[in-house]
Amino acid sequence: MRGAGVRGVGARSVRRGAGAVAVALLLVGVMAGCSDRPTTHHKPGTSHEEASGSTGRLLDREDESGHRYRQVDAADAPSVELAVRPDSVDGWNVRLSVHAFRFTPDSVGGGALPGRGHAHLYLDDRKIARVYGEWYHLPASAVPKGAHTLTARLYADDHTVWAVDGKPVESTAELSQAGRGSGHGHDDGGSDAPDEGSADRTVTITVDGKSVEPPPGRIELKKGQRIRLSVTSDRADTLHVHGYDKEADLPAGRAGTLTLTLDRTGLFEVETHGSGLLLMQLVVR
C-alpha cells in the first residue's frame, strides 16, 4: 500500500504551523529575483529551556489537614499581607497583597512550582475558604460575635504549605463582630449554602469593565447537580457556558440568570461573549 514506508525521510522536523507565511517566499523568488536570503522562513520560536529550579524541601510538619510544609529559602519565598476593611453593607472586604506569588486556580492539583498556588483563610483556627485572588468578601454571618483573628496562609498547587524556617508563609489581622446582624450581601460565589429554587448552587458574579468579582476561579460540582449563575454586567452582554453551549442575555446593570443541569462531566468555562471575559470554570465530576 501507499503508506508502507515508502516515504523514508532524512532528519526531519516536527515543525508545523499555519504556514501561510511561507507563500511569501514565492514572492521573494518571483519579485525580488532571489537576490537575498529571505528572513521570512520560520525561526526556532521561543526558547524551550527546561526548568531546573528548586521547589523547596518537604518537611515532616503538617498543617491541621495533613498537608506537608514545603520549605524554601527566605530570599525566594513568597509573602502575603492581609488587610481587612468593613464593608458598607455586610461583613468585611479582605485583601491579600502577595509578593513573589501569583494565584493559579487552573493548575491547582498539579505539582508545586515556585511562587504560585492559592491561599487558605482561617477564622481563628477554622478554615473558612480557599482563595484564588486578591480580594475576598467575608460575610458577617460567617463570623460569630466577639474578637477574632483572620489568617491568610499560602499554599502551593499540590496543597503543600509554603514555609520559611519551618514556619508557614502567612499573615493575620484582627476583626471584631460587634453584634452586627448578618447582612444580605453578595453571594461570594464560593458559598456552599443551598440556594433558592431548584438549583443545588447559585453563583453570583459581577462584571465591571474588565474586572470580574469574585475573581475567576473554579467550582467543583457533581454530575446531575443544578447550578444557577447570576451575573450582573455593567454592559449588555451574553453569558455562555462552554461545553453545554448554554447562553443567556445579560442586560446592562441588571442580573441575568442561567440555570442548568450538569449532565456532562468535564471542565467547562463560563464566559461573556461580548467582552470575552472568563468568569469561572465549572468542574463537573
Binding site: 500500500m1 501507499r2 503508506g3 514506508g5 516515504r7 523514508g8 525521510v9 532524512g10 532528519a11 526531519r12 522536523s13 516536527v14 508545523r16 504551523g17 499555519a18 504556514g19 501561510a20 507565511v21 511561507a22 507563500v23 511569501a24 517566499l25 514565492l26 514572492l27 523568488g29 518571483v30 519579485m31 532571489c34 536570503r37 528572513t39 521570512t40 522562513h41 520560520h42 525561526k43 526556532p44 520560536g45 521561543t46 526558547s47 524551550h48 529551556e49 527546561e50 526548568a51 521547589t55 501569583r102 493559579t104 487552573d106 493548575s107 492539583g109 498539579g110 505539582g111 504560585r116 462552554h242 461545553g243 453551549d245 447562553e247 468535564g266 471542565l267 461573549h273 468542574v283 465530576r285
Partner: protein, 688 residues
C-alpha cells in the same frame, strides 16, 4: 509546459538553491517512516488491571476520592489496597514492568511528578553521539531513547505493544502527570503499536504533553493536555489513530497535531477507502491554533469544538522534513469552530515569552505563539489538496472563516520543477453554516473567505458572504462539481506582498512586522494600504502631469482622468481591512480602467503607440475588475493583476517621457499624426 509555468519553475529552482540550505530547523526528530498500515485501532479493555500505580499517602487519596460516586469510590479503595501491596509509585516503573503485549495499567487518583525520571542526565547519557537540533536538544535514535529514556521524556513507552494506560478517577483531572516544564515530553509512546490512553491529564512541558511517534494503532480517550511550549497532543507518522473526547489548551502551537498522519490516499480523488486518523468529540481552545496539520494527511475531523484560539484549525505544506507532503485529504465535518480571535502576539511584544517557560504564566492564560499566522481565522489551509470542509459551523471570526493559499514545493524542500505549483487544489468548502452559531443566532465573520487566488478545482459554497476575491468558484451539489473555476499558478500580487511582510516574524527575537495586521497594524500602518497609497500617489502624479501637458483641453479625457482619480482614491479605501472583501476594490479598478481607456483613446492621436498601450492597460484593469467581482477568467495562468502590474511599470516610465516632451518633439513614429491638431482628432474618437 506553458512559458509561465516554465518561468516560475526556473525561478523556484533558483530560489531553492539559495533558500533551502539555511532553513531553520526546529524540533527535529530522528528519521521515521510511516507504519506499514497493517495494524488497527485498539479497542478499550475493561477487565481488571495487570499493573497498578498509586501514591502511598492514604489520607491524601481518601480526600481525592471523597466526592466520587459510592461504587467508584469503593472500586478505588479496593485498588488502593492492592496497590499498596503490589503496585508501583510511578507510572514509569509500571511501564518498565510491562513484559508482554496487551497489558493494562491502572493509575489511581493522584499527582504523578515521576521524581525518579526528573534528574538531568548523568554518566553515559550526557555523552550520547547525536546531532543537536536547532533548539539545543539532541536528535536521538530509538536505541538511544531506550538507553537514556529520561533525557527528554518524563515517561517513556518504547516498543510496548497493545498497552492500555487508564486513570481510575471520576474525571481526567483526578490523575495528573505533571512534567513541570522539566522535560520536552511528558509521555512519549514510540513505536508502541496499539496503545490506548484513557482518563488522565498530562501537562507543562517544553515541547508536548502526549507524543505518539511511529505507531500503528493508538487511541487517546478522554485525556486532557495543557500548557506546553508547542503541542498538547502530537501524533506523528502514525496510522490507525483515534482521538475522542479529548481536550487541550494553553499551547504555543496547537492543541491537537496529527502531523504526518499516514499518507494513504495520495493520488486519490475525494472518494477514499479509509482515513488514517479520526478525531471526534474533542475541544481545543486558547492555543495558537486549535488543530494543526502540517502533512495532516487523511485525517477525519468531525464533531469537535475549536474555539478561542488565534486560529481554529490549519493545514499546511510549509515545513520541510514531514513525511507525506504536500498535505492532502483532511475531512472536516460538523465541527464547531468559533471565536478564534485571541491576541497572543502581545506576549511576544511585552517580553513575557522571553522568560523561561516555567515563568511565562501559561497557567494564567499566557500563550507564546511559535510562528506567524493570521489570527481571527477559522480554518487556514496553506498548501493542501483534496481537503473537504463540509457542514461545519464557523462563526465569530474577526478576520475570515476560511483562509486558503498556495505554498510552492521548494519551501518544503522539493525543487523538482513539476512540483512547484502542486498546492492548493481541489479544496471544497460546502454546506458550512457561516456566521451563525449552533442556536442559529447571527455571529458573523468579518470575512467568510480569504483566498490568494491560486490553484485548480477549489470551490466555496454559494452562500459565502464577504470574500476576497469577491468572485469565487462555486461548489456544485456533488464533490468535484465546480462552476466559475480557474487555475492560476500564483496568487494575487498584493496578497503575496502582504504575506511576505507578515512572514518576517521572529518569536525569539520578538520581531513583529510593523506593516502586518496579524500583529495589530491598522489603517495606514498596514502594508496593503501603504502599497495602494504609494501606487495611487505615483499614478496621480504621473497621470496629473500627463493630463496637464497633454489632455486638459479635452473634455472627455478630463472626465476620464477625474474618474481615474476617484478610482485611485477608492483603491486606497478598498485596501483597508474593512472594505477589502466587498465590491469596492473592483469599483476602484473599474474607474481606473476607464481612465486609462479614455485617456489612451485620446492619446492615440498624438502618440499612437503610447495611446494603444494606455488603452491596453485600461482593458487589463477592466478585466481585473471583472475577474475579481464577477467571475474569474478561466484559462489564464496568472491573474490580470500580474500582467497589469508589469505593464503599469512600463506605462509610468513612458508616461513621464510623454508628459515631459514638448509638443512637436514627438518621436518619428508619431510625426504623421502630429500634423493634425490632436484635440480635434481625439474629440471625434472618444466613445460616449
Amino acid at each position: 509546459m506553458p512559458w509561465t509555468r516554465r518561468l516560475l519553475a526556473v525561478l523556484a529552482a533558483l530560489c531553492a538553491t539559495l533558500l533551502i540550505a539555511p532553513v531553520a530547523q526546529a524540533h527535529e526528530e530522528r528519521p521515521v517512516t510511516f507504519p506499514d498500515g497493517s495494524g488497527s485501532v485498539p479497542t478499550y479493555r475493561d477487565g481488571p488491571p495487570d499493573l497498578l500505580v498509586c501514591k502511598k499517602d492514604r489520607a491524601d487519596f481518601e480526600r481525592r476520592i471523597s466526592g466520587f460516586p459510592a461504587e467508584l469510590r469503593k472500586e478505588n479503595l479496593d485498588l488502593f489496597e492492592k496497590c499498596q501491596e503490589s503496585g508501583f509509585r510511578h507510572l514509569q516503573e509500571a511501564v518498565d514492568a510491562v513484559d508482554e503485549p496487551g497489558m493494562n495499567i491502572a493509575i489511581l487518583p493522584g499527582l504523578y511528578e515521576e521524581e525518579p525520571s526528573q534528574p538531568k542526565p548523568t554518566g553515559a547519557c550526557t555523552k550520547l553521539k547525536a546531532k543537536d537540533s536547532a533548539l539545543g536538544y539532541q536528535i536521538l535514535s530509538f536505541a538511544q531513547q531506550k538507553q537514556c529514556p529520561h533525557n527528554q521524556n518524563l515517561v517513556a513507552i518504547l516498543g510496548k505493544k497493545d498497552l492500555q494506560i487508564e486513570g481510575t478517577g471520576a474525571s481526567r483531572l483526578d490523575v495528573v502527570i505533571d512534567a513541570k516544564y522539566g522535560k520536552l515530553n511528558a509521555i512519549r509512546a514510540d513505536e508502541s503499536d496499539g496503545i490506548y490512553f484513557r482518563n488522565f491529564t498530562a501537562q507543562r512541558t517544553t515541547f508536548n504533553s502526549l507524543y505518539v511517534l511511529a505507531g500503528d494503532g493508538f487511541v487517546i480517550d478522554d485525556v486532557l493536555t495543557r500548557w506546553n511550549d508547542e503541542y498538547g497532543f502530537l501524533t506523528f507518522a502514525s496510522d490507525h489513530g483515534l482521538y475522542k473526547n479529548c481536550e487541550s489548551y494553553g499551547n504555543g502551537d496547537s492543541g491537537i497535531y496529527p502531523g504526518s498522519a499516514s499518507d494513504i490516499n495520495n493520488e486519490r480523488g475525494y472518494d477514499v477507502p479509509r482515513y488514517s486518523i479520526e478525531i471526534t468529540g474533542c475541544r481545543s481552545h486558547h492555543n495558537m491554533v486549535g488543530y494543526s496539520g502540517t502533512a495532516g494527511d487523511s485525517v477525519y475531523v468531525h464533531d469537535n469544538e475549536f474555539d478561542h484560539n488565534m486560529g481554529g484549525a490549519s493545514m499546511d505544506s510549509a515545513f520541510p522534513g514531514h513525511p507525506g507532503l504536500p498535505q492532502n485529504h483532511a475531512r472536516f465535518e460538523r465541527n464547531d469552530i468559533h471565536d478564534n480571535n485571541a491576541d497572543y502576539y502581545k506576549y511576544i511584544a511585552d517580553g513575557t515569552c522571553a522568560k523561561a517557560p516555567v515563568d511565562r504564566g501559561y497557567e494564567d492564560g499566557v500563550v507564546c505563539p511559535q510562528i506567524s499566522m493570521p489570527p481571527g481565522t477559522g480554518i487556514i489551509t496553506a498548501g493542501g489538496n483534496w481537503n473537504l470542509y463540509e457542514n461545519n459551523w464557523v462563526y465569530g471570526h474577526d478576520r475570515a472563516a476560511f483562509f486558503l493559499s498556495a505554498v510552492p514545493a521548494f519551501i518544503r524542500g522539493e525543487s523538482a520543477w513539476s512540483k512547484q505549483a502542486d498546492t492548493s487544489h481541489h479544496n471544497r468548502y460546502a454546506g458550512n453554516k457561516l456566521g451563525v452559531d449552533k442556536q442559529g443566532e447571527a455571529r458573523p465573520n468579518a470575512t467568510d473567505v480569504w483566498w490568494d487566488g491560486q490553484g485548480e478545482g477549489n470551490c466555496w459554497q454559494g452562500s459565502a458572504g464577504a470574500s476576497t476575491p469577491r468572485a469565487l468558484p462555486e461548489c456544485g451539489s456533488s464533490r468535484g462539481d465546480v462552476s466559475g473555476g480557474a487555475d492560476r499558478l500564483a496568487g494575487e500580487p498584493t496578497k503575496l506582498a502582504a504575506l511576505l511582510v507578515c512572514a518576517d516574524y521572529d518569536a525569539r527575537a520578538a520581531r513583529l512586522p510593523a506593516g502586518c495586521d496579524w500583529y495589530g497594524a491598522t489603517g495606514i500602518e498596514r502594508i496593503e494600504v501603504q502599497v495602494a497609497l504609494g501606487i495611487a500617489a505615483v499614478l496621480t502624479l504621473v497621470g496629473g502631469v500627463l493630463w496637464w501637458r497633454r489632455l486638459r483641453t479635452h473634455r472627455w479625457a478630463t472626465v476620464a482622468c477625474a474618474a481615474g482619480l476617484v478610482g485611485l482614491a477608492l483603491d486606497v479605501a478598498g485596501a483597508t481591512k474593512g472594505l477589502q472583501a466587498g465590491y469596492l476594490p473592483a469599483v476602484a479598478l473599474l474607474l481606473t480602467g476607464a481612465w486609462w481607456v479614455g485617456a489612451g483613446v485620446v492619446l492615440r492621436g498624438e502618440r499612437p503607440w503610447f495611446g494603444w498601450v494606455t488603452v491596453a492597460l485600461g482593458v487589463l484593469t477592466l478585466l481585473d475588475a471583472f475577474d475579481k467581482a464577477v467571475v474569474m477568467l478561466p484559462w489564464i495562468p496568472l491573474g490580470p493583476a500580474w500582467i497589469r502590474g508589469l505593464l503599469g511599470v512600463v506605462w509610468v516610465i513612458w508616461a513621464v517621457v510623454v508628459a515631459a516632451s514638448r509638443a512637436g518633439e514627438a518621436p518619428a513614429v508619431a510625426e504623421a499624426d502630429e500634423e493634425q491638431p490632436p484635440p480635434t482628432v481625439a474629440e471625434a474618437e472618444v466613445p460616449v
